[in-house]
Amino acid sequence: MSSSSKNTPVCRFKVGDRVRIKDQSWLFYSRVQLYARGVEGTIARLNYTDLVAEDETFNVEGEIEQHYIVQFRQQDLWPEYAFPNDTLQSEYPDRWLEPLNNSQA
């Protein structure tokens, strides 16, 4: 909820939180898949804190962020997906996530 100092990694979410993958432009390349942009998912796991890959590649002095595994329903990713139980997971750093209404936690 706060921006990070150099010592405190940015970590706004916990397991079970509902999030949306942001759809933001990025300077050179991004590891955030096009298929996930704007899609809602659930925090499945907190992995590790690290520099964000895009920053690291170009040696920008970036902030350390929490990286999460987010779980999506396949039916939320693909309009024609036929199996309601199936899911897809992938990893995102904190800056690429925005909170959905988590007030019912």
């Binding site: 590891r31 898949q33 298929y35 992995n47 990713l77 199936d86 899911t87 997971q89 992938s90 990893e91």
Partner: protein
């Protein structure tokens, strides 16, 4: 470039296995690129040897061993799921020192994904082809292909069926797209018909494809086989496909 590989098994002298005895432009090209790279200072011969030896050394045996141990020991299984890096050390793989040089591609956050009766995992890297090489060795060609990477995320059940794996509709298929620094491996379920098996016997049926998630272990299934797509060649060549016919 010919070498005879004379076998001396059990007192018999076997004829040497046939080798390709013509020098293809591909083999020449590989050497030429390497030598020019070294001449231009892009890397040293020593660095190249180091990475080549690592590529030759790695394979899926450590992964198979990890799964077999987990099947036999509930405490070890728990360790695999809570601290996979520590569990890896028990089978001889230290993720903090996979090559001795720590290349950027050998990210160190290893995660084991446990299959259950209601959950089947399958792994892909849509971005490039990230793969847990210290545990599973070099990735197969099909894993690197754009065909697999584009299709698995969207049509996983269809792709799995092409490998011969049909997952019942009530079982959740979970695709893990490994796009950052984690490296994933599937821990498949222990199959029926393996009661009383030793760790070695169990490891033998945990093949590479089972740990990616495109196959399930079964008694008697000790090798990965799947169609190898025939190469399309320019007019005038009649290639013979290698491996299992489609």
């Amino acid at each position: 470039m010919t070498t005879a590989t004379g076998g001396h098994d059990h007192g018999h002298i076997h004829p040497p296995a046939p080798q390709v005895e013509e020098i293809s432009d591909y083999s020449v090209l590989e050497i030429a690129l390497r030598e020019l790279a070294i001449e231009h200072g892009l890397f040293t011969a020593e660095e190249h040897l180091h990475f080549t030896e690592w590529a030759e050394k790695i394979g899926p045996a450590s992964g198979s061993r990890l799964v077999a141990k987990a099947w036999l020991d509930p405490e070890f299984k728990k360790l695999c799921l809570t601290d996979a890096n520590a569990a890896s050390k028990a089978v001889g793989v230290d993720w903090l020192d996979p090559t001795g040089a720590g290349t950027p591609s050998d990210y160190t956050h290893f995660v084991v994904l446990e299959d259950t009766p209601t959950l089947h995992h399958v792994i892909v890297c849509t971005l490039c082809s990230c793969y847990p090489r210290p545990m599973l060795g070099n990735s197969p060609y099909w894993y690197r292909s754009t065909n697999y990477r584009r299709r698995l995320v969207r049509w996983p059940r269809q792709v799995l069926s092409e490998f011969g794996l049909i997952v019942p509709p009530e079982v959740e298929v979970r695709v893990e797209d490994s796009n950052q620094k984690c490296r994933f491996m599937v821990m498949p379920m222990r199959p029926e018909g393996t009661d009383g098996w030793t760790e070695d016997q169990l490891a033998e049926i945990v093949t590479r494809d089972c740990m990616i998630g495109v196959a399930s272990p079964k008694p008697g299934r000790t090798a990965d086989k799947h169609p190898i797509h025939k190469a399309r060649h320019p007019v005038g060549h009649e290639p013979k496909p290698m491996g299992v016919a489609e």
